[in-house]
Structures are given as C-alpha cells and as structure tokens.
Symmetry: C2
C-alpha cells in the first residue's frame, strides 16, 4: 500500500478530523498537489509513490529507520511554529544594551530597507547572479557595495563580499603567502587584532606551517629589525582602530608599509568601515589589502552573522583577489551592463589552483550595507561616525574626570579600554553593568574592560555609562558640542560623490530605487530557478519571519550564555535534528558556507589524523566530477588533490579508485564524494568506494550539496561516511539571498567529535582541548539564519522530510521523462542500469556544438521564456543540469518542459538553416532590443517569436534588462566600481 | 529671516550636535532636499521659504499660533517612535482568546499574504483603479473577491467592497427604500441582527423618517400579517446565522421572501461568509440582497476594522448596487481587460442622485479576503468551516451533557448562547472566563452569554471552554470525529471551481500569483501618483509596521476597555492632536471614509439643529465645484442640495451665496465647502462666506480633503467652520490600499461635541445622551490603521507638520511654474489676483477638444511615460488636476513636467496633422501592442516613440498591461465575476 499518500491529508481532502490540523506546512511547501502527484506517477507508469520510491532508490541505499527529530511527529503547523518560536525568542535577553563591540556593533537597519530588502522575497530568493541579463538589479547593488568599499578604503578593486572579517583576514594571509609562491613562512600580526580574527588566522596557518608572529606593531623599534632582516616574513596585518580602541599612528603605518614593500611583502589593514568615514584611508599608507566587516552598516548583529566582509586590493592584486567581483561590461547592443567579472580566478574554473574556495558569499548582507549607504549618503554616514566619535569622547572625558577607573587608550574612534579600579574585578563590573545599568560590556581580562559606542547609543545611554564608571554619580555632561578627531588622523577627501549615493535620501526615492532594482531580477517570485546542485526551493514566510525579530537580531555573539538561552536551545535542538538526518553524532554550525564546511570538515579530519599520529597523510582523492569547491578546499587544507576517474556512464570508476587508494595507501588522508553524485545519480557503488577508502586508512568526506535527495531516506552516516557538510541554504530552506548567506554546517561521526571547531572567546558546549581553532569569527557562524532551517525541519517533521525528498525526485523524474523524448539525458537510461535520476538530471547538448549551437544559447534563450537557466557546464561542459525541487508544481514543471521543447524546435531550425533559428543566437531579447533595434527586418524572425514564443508569455513574462553580455570585453576592461561624476561626464 | 530652513538639519548638513538626532523622520518624509528646495525657490524667484509662504497663503488665512501636539517638540525619530509604539502596544491584552464574536472573529492571515500584500508597498500604496490599464493586478484580485461573494451568496452581482457590515446594511435599507421611490416607510428587521447593525440602520432611517420595526422574524404568525397587510412595509432584513447563533429555518426564509416579493418588496439577508460555505446560499431563498463582513477571511479583527463588507444583488438590481464593481471589458486590441464598471451610478457622476456616497472603500482588505480564498481553495474554506462547526458542536454537546448552564439555541454554526445557571451573573462569568481561562466571551444581558468559535480555536481551547462551562470539570471529549450540519440546511452545490481558486495552493504558487498581479499595478513604488485631491504621499514603513503587530491586530472591538488601554491611549492622543490641527474641540474617529465623515458631520449638524428646535432646517448649500460625495452625503442625510455658483476665476460666487442664503434663510441647515477649494486655491472669501452662512442660521461643514495645505498654517476652526472631516488616508499618511481603507475622522466645535456618534455596545468616552447613534459598526471605525496617522503626526511634530504643507505647496507651485509655459493653468494668474496655487493645480485642456484631442488622451499617454494620470475631469471636465505632495523630490517633479512638455509636442503634432500625433490616440501602448501588433507601418510613429519618448524610460519604465479600455462595451455587457470553467471552455 501507499505509505506516502496519507501525508497529503487536510485541506486538499474533504475527510477531515477535529484532531488533525487542517493547514499543514507540508501541503504549502510541496508544489505538487495530490492530483498533480497522481498525474505524474501515471505519466511515468507508477502505481503509487511507494512503487516510485522503490524504483528510484537502490535498495542497498535506502535506510529504513525513521528519523528521530526533536519535533512533533507530524511537524508543527505554521501557527504552532510561530508560537513555539516566540517562546524560544523570548528566552533571549534582547533588551540589554550590547556595547561589547569587538567587531559587532549596534546599528539601525533603516525600516525601508528592512521591509523592502531583508523581508522581500524578490531580494532574498534570487540566486548568485550567474545569469547577468536577469540580475542587473542586484548586480547594480553589489557594484554599489564595491564602490563604497573602494572609496572608503581608497583601494581601487573591491569584491562584493566575503564571509566574515576572520575569514577575510584568512584570505589576506593566503594571498600574501602565495605572492611569494609560498616560499616564505612568517606572518606578522599586531597583538591588537580581535581575538577571533587571530583564531581564524591560526587555523588557516596550520596546513602550511606558516608561523604567525604576534607582535606589538605600535613599537617600531621591535618591529623594524624583523621586517628588515627576517627573510621568512611575507606580510603583516594590523587593525585600524585596534581591538582596544586605540588608533595606530599614521607614521607607524607608513613605516610598516614601507618596510614591507621594500621586500615586496604585503601589507594588510583590517579597518572598521564606520571609522573609515573619518580616518585616513588605508590607501594613504599604501596598504595592499584592506578588509573588515560591513555589519555596522545596517546589518543586525544577529548573534554573529550573517554579515558581509569586505576585501579591497591595489590594482596590482586585481587578478589575485578572492571572491566575487561585479564588473561593468557591455551587451550585444553595446549597452553598458553588469556581470560577475574575472570568474576564471574562481574555484569552479581553477579548482585546486583557485584564489580561494569562496562560492556562496554574503550578497544579501552586502546589499543591505550598500543600500544603507545609498540611503544615508556620504554626509549621512560621516555624521553617524562623528556622532559615535563624539559620544565616545564625551564618555572618555567623564571617565577621566571621574578618576575612579583608568582609561588606557589615548586615542579612539568608538572603543574605550578601561583598567578597573582595584576594588573591582571585571567579573563584578560586568555583573554591575548588566544588573544595575542593563548594559553589556567586554572583559579583556580580570582587571580590564572594553566597550564600544555605536549608532544606536543615545545621550541617555552615555549618562547611564557615566554613572557606571563613576560609582553611580552623575557628572555634568555638555552634549551641545561635537568633538572632532585630531586633525592629523582625519581624512579630508570627498568620497562617494556618485549620483546613486546622493539621490535617494527620502524614503519615497529609496523605495523606488529598491523597487527598480528588484524589478530587474528574476527570483523565485517569478518562476522556478531550476539550477542543478542549488536546490532553489521555497523559502517560506513563516521560516523567514523570526529573523527580523529583535529577540534574535539584537544578540551579540559574545553575550553571556545565560542571556541567550533561547538561541542556545534552538542551536542545540537543530544540531540534534541534523545529527539524526545525517546519521552522525555531532554537528558544528560554525561554517558559513558550503565551501567553508568542506574546509572545516577536512581540517577536522586532518586534526584527527594528526592526533592519531598520521599527520603524514596528505592525499585527498576527488572524483573529476566534483564541484570546484572540493579541490579548492582540499588545497586550502594543504592536501594534495588526486583526481579519480569516472566511467562513461557517469559513475565513479571503482577500479581507478582502488588503484589510487592502493597507490597512496600510506598517505591517503581522505576522499571527497558527493551523494547522490554531482550528476544527480544514486551511484550504486558508493558503499564499496567508502569501504575501499577506509580500508586504506582514509577518511570519507561527503559533500552534502545533494542532501535534498537523502532526507530520511538514506544518510551520510548510513552510507559509511565520516564527515559531511550540509548546505542549509539549499536543502534546509535558507534563501540564497542573491549569492548568500549560507550555512555549511558539518556533521561528523563520533571519532571526529572532539575536533569540531571552537571559538576562543565564546566556546561552544562541544569544545574540547582537541578542538580545532575557529574557522569563522563567530561561534555559530551565520547564526541569525539558523531559525529558518530550524523551522523548516520542525514543520515537516519525521515523515514530512522524507516526503520532501521524494517529491523532489518525483518532480525531477517527471521532467526527465518528458524531456528525454526531445533531448539526450546524461547517464540515465535502461542500458546503463540507471533508470531514474535522483533529484536532478543533466541535459546533454554537446552534440549540437559542431552545428554551432552552444549550451549557452539555450541557457540565454530560456530567459526569453521567462526562466532562469539550469546550471550551465557543471558538472559536465556543454550541458544543463536541472533541479526542480519539491516546491514546484506540475503546472510550472510543464511550463518549463514546454519551453525546452519549443527551444528544441528552434535548435532544429538553426541547424536546418532557417532564419528563425537565429533567435537562439540573439537571445535573450531585452525590451529595448524589441522596441528600438532597427535590424528586425533582417533577422529572419519576428519580434513576436523573440518575445512570445509560447502563449503563456503574453500573460506572464519576465523581461531581461539587457541583451547577451560580452564577458571577454568586461574582463579585459575591468571596471568594478560606479563611475565617478567626472567619468560619467567624460563619456 | 528663514524660519523654515533650520528644519532641514541633521544628516543633510555637516554641522551636527550630539543633542540632536541625526536621522529625523522629517528629512525622510519630504521629497525635496535642502538643495532641491533652494533650486525650486530660485526658479520661482523667491529668496527663501518664508517669503514663499507669505506669497502663497493669504494673510487673513494664516494662523500664527503654533500647533500644540502631544508629541516631543521636534517629533519622535523613527526609532523613538517604534519604541514608543511598542510601549503603547504592550498595554493591550492581545494574548487573551477573544471568542466574543458578534461580527468579529479570530482568523489566520496566511503569512504569505501578510508579507506580500498587507506589508507590501506595491499593494498598499496604489490608488483606486481608475486607470485600468495600469491596475490590472488589483482589478483581477477584486474580481476574484466579487466572484467569491457571488458564488457564496448565489447572487450574480457583487461589488468589490463596502465599508463594514453595518453600513452595508444601511445601503440595503436605502436601496430597498428607493425601490418604491421612497413612498413606503416601514422596514422590518429581525431582532436577532447584531446590535451594531441595528444601530447603524437606526441612524440611516432618521433622515427619512423610516420606521424600523424590530420583530421576531422566526415567528411567521406574527410576521405574516404585517408583510401581507401593511402597505408601508418596503422590505425586511434577517441575519443568517443570527446574532444568538441560531439558524433561521429554511421554510421561514422562503416564506418571508415570498411574502415580500408578492408586494414587490425587497428581501435582504445579512449572511456570515464562513457559514455560507456550508449553508444554503441566500439565492436559494430568493433573497434580493445579501451582505456581510468578509473579515474572517484572513483579515485581523484589528479592534473593529478595516474589513471589507460584501454586497451582492440579483440581476434586477445590478444598476442599483452601491459601491465599486469591477467588470470585464476589452481593450483597443480586443483583449479582455478589467475596469470599474457602471461608474455612472456613482456619486462623482450622479452627485445627490447617486446610489450611495461610497468613494473610498476597503480594497486592500477585499484583496486580502479574496487571496485567502485563492490560497485555501473551495475545499479549504469549506474544511475550515466544517472544523469550526465541528468544534462548536462538540462544545455544545459538553455544555448540554454538563447540565450546569443552559444552551438556548438549538441550531448553530459557530455561535452558542447560554443562559447561565442562577448562581452566576454574566459579569461574574465573564470575569471568571477571563481571569481563570484567559478567554473573552460576550454578555447579552445579566444572565445570558454568547461565544463564537473561529478558525484559530484548537481542541485545547475547547477543552478549556468545557471546563469553563462545567465548573472546572474536564469532560471526556471525542475529537476523532467531524460532526456535520443537518442535511436540510447544507448547501450541495460545488462552488468556486474557476481555475484561480484551484491553482495556487502551494506557497510558491501563491507567491508567484501575488507577484504577477502586483507587477501589473503602478503604485508609489514606481512613480509619483499626482492625483489632485488624493494626496498620494509617502506611507512610511515605520508608520506601517505596527499594524501587523498582534498587540493591535488581535483586539476585538467589544473587548473590555481595561484590556485595551494602549489602544485607548493612542486614540485619545490622536484625537487631541487632530483637535489641535483642526482648531476644533472634539474628534470622532468612527467614520471609515471621507464620505462617511461627511455623512457623520452632517448628521451631527442635523441632530444639533433638532436639539435646538430647528429641525425644519433642511437646505444644504454646496458649491458647484464640490466633490460628488458632498451632495451624495447631504442627500443621505435628507438634506436638499442647493448649488452655489462659482465665478469665472474659480472662486465661490459670494453674491450667489448671499442670495441663496437669503432665500433659504429659514431653512438653511448648512453649507459644505472645501478648503483650499477643490480647485486647489486659497479662496480669499472663505471667511466671508462662512460668516454669511452663520448669519443665516446655518452651520458650516468643511470638507478636509485638502487639509494637506492647512497643517499648522490655518485650520477649519480658525476659518470659522463648525465641522470638518479629515481624510486620514490622504493628509495623514494612511495608504490608499488600491481603493481603501480610509478614515474620515471628523472634528467639531464645542457646541456639536455632545452629538458625536456613539456605539451602543462599546460607547466611546465622549458619548452623551445626545449622541447620534452609530455611523459604523465599530466604535473606532477602521481602528487598526489609526497607528499610521498617529505615528505620522508624532514624528513630524509641531514644526514638521506645517513644513509638510509648505513643501507640498512648494512642489505644486514649482510644477505649475514650469508647466504654465506650455499649458493653460486654471484660475492661477496675475490678473486673477491669485498668483499661486496651494498644494495642487489644474491643467486646462479644453481648448484642444475642438481639435479632437481629449484630456483622456493625455491621461492615457502619460502611462506610456510611466506615470499615473492626474485627476481627470474633477473638479472641471476636460482638465487634469495635479497634486504632487511633499514626498516627491525635484527629480521626480521634473521627470513629470518633462513628460508633460513632451506630450505637448505630441498634441501639437496631432493638431498639425503629423503622423506622430497618433501616438496620443493609441495610448497607452502595452507590451503586446509593441511586440505583436502588425499595423506598425501604418501608424505614423515608431515603436520607439510609443514606448520610449524620453530617454529615462529605457532605464525605468512601467508598462501598461493592456491598451486603452473600452468603457462602453464593458457597461453594456456587464460581467463582474470570473468566468466559470464552462464559460472559459465555450470561448
Ligand atoms: C556539489 C557542491 N558542493 C559544494 C558547494 C559549495 O557550497 P557553497 O556555495 O555554500 O560554498 C556547492 C555549491 O553550489 C555544490 O553544488
Ligand atoms: C474633496 C473630496 N471630498 C471628499 C472625498 C471623499 O473621501 P473618501 O474617498 O474617503 O470617501 C474626496 C475623495 O477623493 C475628495 O477629494
Ligand atoms: O554554485 C555553484 O558553483 O554551483
């Protein structure tokens, strides 16, 4: 009988029962209705879902033990979920004023941006802008971000976000290391870097035996000889202002820079983005790299993330910069148009030779920060900074005047370090601050505390702080002033004079600007985004709501754990659920992207091997079909990548695997495999492969990007793996945000548990003496988006999760079965012994290449049909990989299939030399092309065919903003910030 | 010197001060930046704002006393506002379970609809869809609403919303009354109507001396003789189910209907929309009219409003139905397209002969209700109703079984009436329910209570209620069942089989449907909507946020006042502020639209005159330039409208006024004037006119639609008026919602205070024995949107409000001064003695009529330029009235002016016989027209000219979905619900 059918109870059925909720999340999350499901099953010749499941999943893979989630058996309803989440949220103390600082500051997210970006599905459900013609909105916004960074740092090239300040520092370290082809191995950091940044650097140094030398970089006497004489030094990093609040002297900076450059070494400044509006920019000191967090530009602290880190470099380093860069190019009509530039640096092309493993970044947060600046304008952000400096200075004066405690920094922007009067320990003092004044500050050690003033601090708060530092006495304070930074440290240039930063300062203007950008971007609000390997499923409203609640948004990652018990409860429960789903013992939520998860997982494996006296093991086997992040991450861990072949039928070549494992028997560290494979297939030999690797002493890393085919049906643990990462932003409903945030949680088997990453300021409950040091700045990484996955799991429950995987596979197989009559589907065919795909499949277009039809032509033409292209050229060049997910309904699947069938006709026309075939080559067609181009008579096809090849398009069409982008032109003429007024007027 | 300049402090200026907030609401609300302002002033030749103000506002009008608001002097910042609002909100008990019923029920607003409709500026900032080509999205949604109503009531014609159930009942009464040309004067109502409905009916009867006869309509023996024999009876109204929960017998309904129809009288059923999914529809009983609230279809109770009332009639009455009807017509290309049908019934055409005075309705709420049905589908809403019935029945059984209290209704859908055991008074029992069980129920009298089960009630709630009714004992309850209504009352037809109600049941599908609709509608998120007399200003996010908070959304209007002290504090403070702004003594917030405000104000005047022994006074003077609602409202109050002429220069003809006042000296009740006049001019003679009317014993009603030119600069009170209404949805920032909600608060001078409307269940603090009975169902009318105006006022403060008016006038005059070089501007010219307009001005296009260019051509052509047309043909046919408001910036003003100048060239081309002039006649041009039309060679102009007449359009263009609508066709072939499946397949 059909064990899955009854999950569709409730409103779709008229037989209801008072004991059961009507409106389950399940039926809202799944695209196919019961009748859609029946239709699809019968189209494919299945009796019911049970039979379908049996045919699709190899029996040796299917795990029969049910999930064991911390949730009601049938999941929460949406209303129960919101109630439950409110209860958890209210256990967090979000009313205390967090002045802890240390990289995380109170900020005001302007409500217009909150509502129209953070809470807008048009912004948060889009993918990384790989298809630029339908992504010009967020590309413009990311270009704005790069412009802000470039102008504030003074450095010409900025990327559009890294994961956080710590990992960005890690990237700077590696960039510096690589500049000398890894021949030098000492890196100097100032002791006044944030602790968590040092931690992440430490982790990054490990695989390469880089010696991290912590020094007092203010002290040139000490520093100069090393910089001048030690041939192993390859770079130096300082923080500006420093973690204690002080500002390193301009002359010192210049001197360090000069000394480094004399030896062709690299100088990196970690700089506070808000302070940079007032302080001289890193370019003034010839810094090669500037980096930092942009959190305080409107992004909630959110318990540590997600926030966009910035990273800017000199022209010289433009080809070495990690992460995504938006650049200006032009389209087929010579119209300026934006796109991701220099993609050839990246892991999906360069693999283990890539500049970094960054794939998912922090696009949504970069967009919030950029729009914060658009809304405030240059004078606005400067005034915010002036006010912060002013209030800090007023407070500093009263502490000095009061004379009870000792202010230890004699320069500052927003942060003061105070040596407490001997009567107090830091512990007492923090307790006093919290209990009596409702303020959290930071303890540096038992006698010294730090606090940071931010945009949200009011004069009343300063009065309260004055009392705190003056044993309850009120000092008279003159607020009718605005103290200014000493002349010599002030920047004097005018920045951000571009129109976009000076035009949208009223709410109405801002609303329209955001709306205009949004209308250019295809998101899940328009149509399906069938990107294989990306799992663009529903990001439901109920899942999203809590992330704007102050109960989560206002938390500081270093807030005492008693104050955040709601969050900790949520994290603990989510970890348990993910452990059940992965079949593993422990979970770390710290990695903030899939690629970071890979890096973390491999680092854990390495530490385990070290601990077991196996530190010589350094070979990582990776199938040639693997995602580019796999080899890139392995390389970051200092592992040597050895590729494993695949068979012509797509499966792992077990003979080759055996041979390689045998060959590297003594040095085999790990294998990285993806399951179902990156081809979307349940490889039958996976267990055998895993056993082979184990038998040669290697650990098995499973890339969980395709977890959406596994939920409750099989698991990495069941298959025998040792570690996996989960892209919570794929399978677990965190929206892709136009290119991030993500969460790359990892799961591990018991023997690896002790090695999970820690955080030296706020260690997680799982921390041990064997823990690897931090991989991200905050203990829980992108903590603020965890409620999304938490809710997703709790609302689907033990039966609903497997049902989601089944529906995802049903959708994929239905599309495949319709499309295979028109296109070659890779690796799925009777002869091959693989009758069905899992949750995605590959359309092979390589046969058309010799006829001059490229896969990209089909990808672009799909835009004219209102669709985002499937994944292009991964895992196989010349193909498209389609992943519909469980959230698409039959109507949408059919609409896509119909579009592809119609395109097949166009391919045939092109090959047959019919004029109408040209429609492929000119695709996509922008509105301007339709309206204004004058060559329509000579194209061989009509405007009607270009724009409305199928009838539904008249009713529902998404228009590309520009025509096909010229990638080469853009890479050759790299422009990656908004043109200045002069540049515009020169045109 | 310039007293207004310093309001622009803060971020736009680099001289800041720690004592002042940086980010004031003022600078975000106003469109013009300081430099915009300077530019505009200098363009017009003014030194500064002070000089400008002096030139624009006649000195005798300018009020020099500053406002005296209950707000910080400089207003709250946005952050302070949210904090303040949270404090107020938390004073409301929103956690208690409100089972009070009586027309207001708990309901679940699906989160996808909350986020994407209620919280989406694209939905809430649009205007009533008078320009159908750029409103097809909400027109489709309103057609869905009408379809839901039509199918659930079984009546063919439904409008797309009235203000609430009470006023809808009032409309039914008057429709019935008019059917016999007002010759009969008795109306029967069942005693089991909701109290508040009876109240509103009472109010409506007053002016016409209609006798409202309350009877037991269940008792045919009593009723039959009256219906058969009393020649004065013109109709009868029953409620279904009744207020006590019982369901009137089918035979009784049929019998009443037959008896009425035998005398050509009208039968009205007030029917619960949720119950109608299970009960036989009104059409089965030959009802002529069905009406009710659609609140429980997803719209929060919100303390009584806003909610959309529905109103449906038989075909016979299709031309008599009040309110807006969406109809299907076709466009220039013969494509089906939607528009407002039968506008000729309405007040803006028919004036005092209109079917009603309805102008602003409840479009946003109708859209929410319609989308609730789209999301749940027919089976979904039926199941919700079944569950409600089931839980009610289970509770009823336990009450009977318990035997302590006595259930008095023997039939029910969701409501039970219980006669309490003699040990209890209702007061005790309500207290017990609240204090011990956290439940609110309703006391009918001292011994009987009522409660209603709703969609949000769970089995746990039923268990709690069982305890309440069984002195704390738990009875065993079997929830494994679903009781069914008795066969004979059940409806058996399949309803809502149209595709739209059966296609969007997954969240993804619903998101896309909402997004698709939204993308067809021009809203303030796209461009300015310069509708004269409509004041389409910023509806800021901070103002909007609190209306989705449960602290306001969950309140029941009959909740005890101790539980809603936050709301009451807000209402009281808002009333005080509005009193200060109007210069009056008291305010009533009850009327839920401007037109309702007029009706209320005039009713108050009438009651005052009655009370003063002047009930014979029945003449209302109304200038010919008045808005159509003025005469329509006067007519509804039984007043005789006497028009007053205007001079060729647009001013009130004081000579004519004098003569009319003289002539009607003994019967003069009132004058209704608009200030600044509907022409947007500060009429210099207003004070004189007011004195004239007073001297003839009349009261002065000031239509406050143009209050946006008065804020803190002058006031109705200062001018000498006695009453005014305020459209809080214009001047006070409540968004227009695509056609409502509105709030038509009225202000009165002290002598009228005792007469302000009350509510018999929950009288406001101002109620007296002289109060007129209710004009709306709920004491505070559209209470849930009051926080918007409250915040608007509190954030601008005493100085910011007048500044807003000044900026509105600056914007209008700047546009006027640029446009007057190209177009004739009505009534503003040196010779006329009126150098400046106030906040709006009229472009006179009548001279082109003889050259065959109509104002509508320009209005439609503006759509091609991406703009919503200004107000067409009001107050002067053949003209456009432009009102930019203070929220538009210089760039947008210029963009509009440039479009109008470009159109002037097109007018000239048309008149000169150039082909390019045809672009006006074919405007607007839809995408489909551009892409698919085959007559482009013969049009005389290019696609480029059609679509991109100015360069900005390539960058930022809003596309009309269809071409020009054919109004006549649609009115002749009235179709006002979605076609059924059969109808579609016939096509
Ligand atoms: C198979 C596979 N592995 C790893 C990743 C990297 O994940 P992330 O983008 O979160 O870094 C991806 C991303 O698309 C992927 O498809
Ligand atoms: C001058 C004038 N009076 C009254 C009204 C009626 O207001 P409402 O639409 O809120 O009923 C309007 C509406 O546009 C108006 O412009
Ligand atoms: O995001 C991917 O590179 O697949």
């Amino acid at each position: 009988s059909n064990q899955y059918a009854n999950l569709y109870q409730g409103v779709k059925d008229s037989k209801i029962n008072l004991n059961q909720p009507l409106d389950t999340f399940l039926r809202r999350h799944m695209g196919p209705s019961p009748s859609d499901t029946d239709k699809m099953l019968s189209t494919m010749g299945f009796k019911d879902l049970t039979e379908f499941v049996k045919s699709v999943i190899p029996p040796q893979i299917l795990e029969l033990n049910p999930l064991n989630l911390q949730a009601p058996q049938d999941g929460f309803t949406e209303q129960e979920m919101l109630k439950h989440m409110t209860q958890i949220a209210n256990k967090n103390n979000y009313k205390v004023k967090n002045l802890i600082g240390k990289g995380y500051y109170g900020t005001i997210l302007p409500p217009i941006i909150q509502r129209n970006v953070l809470e807008s599905p048009e912004w948060y459900t889009s993918y990384t802008p790989y298809q630029p013609e339908i992504s010009q909105g967020r590309l413009e916004s990311l270009l704005n971000f790069q412009t802000v960074i470039s102008e504030l740092t003074g450095l010409p090239i900025a990327n559009s976000s890294l994961l956080d300040e710590g990992t960005a520092a890690g990237e700077a370290l590696l960039l510096s290391f690589n500049a000398h082809r890894r021949k030098k191995n000492k890196y100097i950091i100032d002791k006044r870097l944030h602790e968590q940044t040092k931690d992440v650097l430490k982790t990054r140094c490990n695989p390469f035996n880089i010696e991290l030398i912590e020094m007092d970089c203010y002290n040139l006497e000490e520093l100069t000889p090393i910089l001048e004489n030690d041939p192993q030094v390859f770079g130096c990093m300082v923080q500006y202002p420093s973690t204690d609040g002080s500002i390193i002297a301009n002359e010192t900076l210049t001197r360090i820079s000069d000394l480094l450059h004399a030896k062709k070494n690299t100088f990196t400044m970690v700089a506070d983005i808000m302070a940079l509006t007032l302080l001289k920019p890193p370019s003034e000191f010839d810094a090669d790299i500037a980096l930092g967090s942009t959190q305080r530009f409107g992004v909630p602290m959110g318990m540590g993330g997600p926030h966009a880190a910035y990273f800017a470099v000199t022209d010289k380093l433009s080809r070495k910069i990690p992460g995504r860069i938006v650049g200006i190019s032009k389209d087929r009509l010579n119209k300026p148009a934006l796109r991701l530039a220099l993609q050839t640096r990246e892991q999906h092309i360069k693999r283990d030779k890539a500049t970094s493993n960054i794939c998912t970044a922090q696009a949504l947060l970069a967009n919030i920060a950029a729009n914060y600046v658009v809304y405030h304008g240059p004078q606005g952000i400067k005034n915010i900074a002036k006010r912060i400096y002013g209030l800090t200075t007023v407070l500093a004066e009263t502490i000095k005047k009061g004379g009870i405690h000792k202010l230890t920094n004699d320069s500052w922007f927003d942060t003061l370090t105070i040596e407490l009067n001997e009567k107090y320990t830091s512990e007492d003092f923090l307790k006093l601050a919290f209990e009596k004044y409702n303020v959290n500050i930071f303890a540096n050690d038992s006698k010294s505390v730090t606090l940071s003033i931010d945009e949200t601090v009011t004069t009343e708060d300063i009065e309260i702080l004055t009392k705190l530092f003056n044993e309850g006495e009120t000092l008279e304070i003159d607020f009718n002033q605005i103290p200014e930074l000493p002349q010599e440290v002030q920047r004097t240039d005018e920045f951000l004079q571009q129109e976009v930063f000076n035009a949208h300062h009223s709410e109405t203007a801002m609303l329209r600007y955001l709306h205009r950008l949004q209308s250019r971007d295809l998101s899940l609000a328009n149509s399906m985004i069938p990107l294989g390997s990306c799992t663009m499923k529903l990001n439901s409203t109920v899942e999203m709501m809590p992330i704007s609640w102050p109960q989560f948004a206002n938390l500081h990652p270093f807030q005492p754990s008693e104050q955040i018990s709601g969050f900790l409860e949520l994290a603990d429960s989510l970890e348990k659920d993910l452990a059940s789903i992965t079949g593993f013992d422990s979970i770390s939520l710290q990695p903030n992207s899939g690629a970071q998860g890979e890096y973390t997982g491999l680092s854990v494996i390495k530490k385990y091997l070290d601990d077991a006296g196996q530190s010589h093991r350094n070979i990582c086997l990776i199938p040639v079909s693997a995602h580019g992040t796999n080899p890139a991450s392995a390389a970051m861990c200092g592992l040597k990548v050895v590729p494993v072949a695949c068979l012509p039928n797509g499966s792992l070549d077990l003979v080759d695997l055996n041979a390689k494992a045998e060959k590297h028997n003594d040095s085999l560290a790990a294998i990285m495999i993806t399951y179902p494979s990156t081809y979307g297939l349940y490889e039958p030999g996976v267990k055998e492969a895993i056993e082979t690797v184990h038998s040669h002493g290697g650990q098995v890393y499973l890339d969980g990007a395709n977890m959406n085919a596994q939920l409750g049906l099989t698991s990495p643990g069941f298959l025998g793996a040792d570690v996996c990462h989960l892209n919570l932003h794929k399978t677990f409903a965190i929206p892709h945000g136009g290119g991030g945030p993500g969460v790359g949680a990892i799961g591990v088997r018991k023997h690896l548990t002790p090695f999970l990453p820690t955080n030296s300021i706020a260690p997680p409950p799982t921390a041990t003496t064997k823990s690897i040091s931090a991989v991200s700045s905050a203990t829980y990484g992108n903590a603020l988006v965890l409620p999304i996955s938490y809710s997703f799991i709790k609302m689907l429950g033990n039966k609903g999760l497997p049902f989601a995987s089944i529906m995802a596979m049903l959708n994929a197989n239905y599309m495949r079965s319709r499309l295979e009559k028109y296109y070659k589907i890779l690796f799925v065919n009777k002869e091959n012994g693989i009758d069905h795909c899992a949750h995605e499949f590959i359309i092979d277009l390589r046969e058309y290449k010799e006829k001059h039809v490229e896969a990209i032509d089909i990808a672009k033409r799909l835009q004219d049909y209102g669709f985002h292209a499937p994944t292009l050229a991964f895992p196989v060049p010349g193909t498209l990989m389609v992943e519909p997910t469980e959230s698409e309904n039959l109507e949408e699947l059919d609409r896509f299939v119909d579009a592809m069938i119609s395109i097949k006709g166009e391919i045939d026309a092109f090959i047959g030399g019919e004029g109408k075939g040209n429609v492929l080559k000119n695709a996509p067609h922008s509105l301007e092309d339709i309206v204004s181009s004058t060559d329509w008579e000579t194209r061989g096809y009509s405007r009607e065919l270009a724009a409305y090849p199928l009838p539904y398009l008249k009713y529902n069409k998404f228009w590309p903003m520009v025509t096909r982008l010229d990638d080469t032109y853009g890479d050759m003429h790299l422009i990656c910030s908004c043109p200045t007024v002069e540049e515009v007027s020169e045109e």
